[in-house]
């Protein structure tokens, strides 16, 4: 019989418990939503379905249910779905000691079904609305073509996600072999982002894209972190300090990563002073948001191996930073020092 109804657990409500959600998870969650619209009922249903005929005696139906360990059978006449017979119907017959009766006498004629061409989100809705555990699937001519359970949906989504995962693996593999597979005298991958002045809502977006790209390219996590911090500071500087925003550019080569931020104004009066910890020209308003600590360029300098700032008042600034990628020596920069983010201010 059906298990007694119980309130859903915390885990069922919120799902995906057990570990923190990463960017990848967030992507997967929305992918599950996408999949529930993309996947069709016929792709996940069970096609090989046991059926009953209207003139089948209930005792025979009970046999089929028991042998197959299922709780209901669709009733079919001339391939068309005309009803459904569940264990509950059989219990009604049993109470009257009427197991010799025909299926048609006890079956439910108003059958809730889903169409094979529907997206599975339709099936999920029907399951929820009607509180049913399994649904017959019919084609456009009301012909029974399969059955679908919640388990089928879960399995279908998992299979599709598995396919996605493999595709991502392949992509990551391909990306990380980019530089080995393409032979040229100098291969450079250039990522370019336009940063708008004053657009705080987008602050950190380019840096987060860059972080993901570097990880996909197989960059060392330590180097990725250094890059992310440097690029984030440069990105925020373009947002906070420029007149018209600017361009953030990342050039990835097998032996080094070059980051640059270019803008067309207002320019920096003293390019030495900005490297002094605590020196800032940020407005009071910006400081209230937690920027303008006067640590931006200090941070960048600490994260990269080379930094060069050129600026002309009234014309604009160009900041170029480089991180050299050592051969297989993780976390060690070219000058031989192990990178450790400083906590001194």
């Amino acid at each position: 019989m059906c298990p007694p109804a119980r309130p859903p657990t915390e885990q069922e409500i919120h799902g995906r418990h057990g570990r923190p959600i990463t960017d990848q998870d967030a992507h997967d969650i929305s992918r599950v939503e996408e999949l529930s619209y993309d996947l069709r009922v016929h792709e996940v249903m069970t096609a090989d379905v046991k059926t009953a005929t209207p003139d089948m005696p209930l005792a025979k139906v009970l046999d089929i249910l028991r042998v197959n360990r299922i709780s209901g059978l669709p009733v079919v006449e001339d391939e068309k779905l005309i009803g459904i017979l569940s264990l509950e119907d059989i219990v009604r017959a049993l109470q009257k000691n009427d197991l010799a009766a025909h299926t048609s006498q006890y079956m439910t004629r108003e059958v809730v079904s889903v169409a094979s061409y529907d997206s599975i989100v339709a099936a999920i809705r029907t399951f929820t609305e009607k509180q049913l555990g399994r649904l017959p699937v019919v084609d456009e001519n009301q012909k029974l073509v399969g059955m679908i359970t919640k388990g089928d949906i879960t399995r279908g989504i998992l299979v599709a996600l598995q396919k996605d995962y493999k595709t991502e693996e392949v992509r990551r593999y391909r990306a990380s072999h980019l530089f080995e597979d393409i032979i040229s005298e100098r291969t450079t991958l250039v990522l370019r982002y336009t940063i708008k002045a004053g657009d705080f809502t987008q602050g950190g977006k380019a840096s987060s894209h860059i972080k993901r790209a570097l990880l996909r390219l197989g960059a060392d996590p330590q180097i990725t972190r250094r890059c992310s911090i440097a690029v984030y500071e440069a990105e925020m500087n373009l947002i906070i300090h420029t007149t018209n925003g600017g361009i953030l550019k990342l050039e990835v080569e097998p032996h080094r990563i070059t980051m640059s931020a270019t803008d067309d104004g207002p320019g920096i009066a003293d390019t030495e002073m900005v490297f002094q910890p605590g020196y800032s020209t940020a407005t009071e308003q910006v400081r209230e948001m937690g920027f303008g600590a006067g640590m931006g360029l200090v941070n960048m300098k600490r994260c990269v191996d080379e930094i060069k700032l050129e600026s002309t008042l009234g014309k604009g600034s160009k900041l170029v930073m480089r991180i050299f990628i050592p051969d297989q020596t993780v976390g060690v920069s070219r000058n031989g020092q192990t990178y450790e983010p400083s906590t001194n201010h």
Partner: protein, 113 residues
């Protein structure tokens, strides 16, 4: 010290989607309202305590991969910040207590890195 224990002991409000906080370990802590300092000082798995509640704390938290951000003195991140945090897998917690007290309690709980 895991995040669930910290949430319970400090009676913090969870602003982002619930998850298995018991499986998240706080490896240390960092406090500052200056985002550049946080970029430099906060390490992966740290608890970051701050008065700041605007959208940009989410980007900083995501980039530094801190275990959680505790927004102090009842500062309220807006809906857009919370949505962004959920999207980026950032845990936002809030409390009426000031940063100093929160830090003191975290220290007492053994979060001392």
């Amino acid at each position: 010290m895991n995040l669930q224990q910290i949430i319970d002991q400090l009676t913090l409000t969870v602003l982002t989607e619930p998850r298995d906080f018991a499986s998240i370990t706080a490896t240390g802590g960092y406090s500052s309202d200056l985002l550049s300092c946080v970029m430099a000082g906060a390490k992966k798995g740290f608890i970051w305590t701050t008065l700041q509640a605007h959208l940009n704390i989410v980007a900083v938290a995501a980039l530094t991969e801190v275990a959680a951000v505790i927004v102090t003195e009842n500062a309220q991140p807006d809906a857009a910040s919370i949505a962004k945090a959920n999207q980026q897998g950032v845990v936002l917690l809030s409390t009426p207590q000031p940063t100093y007290e929160v830090n003191g309690k975290l220290w007492e709980l053994g979060v001392r890195n």
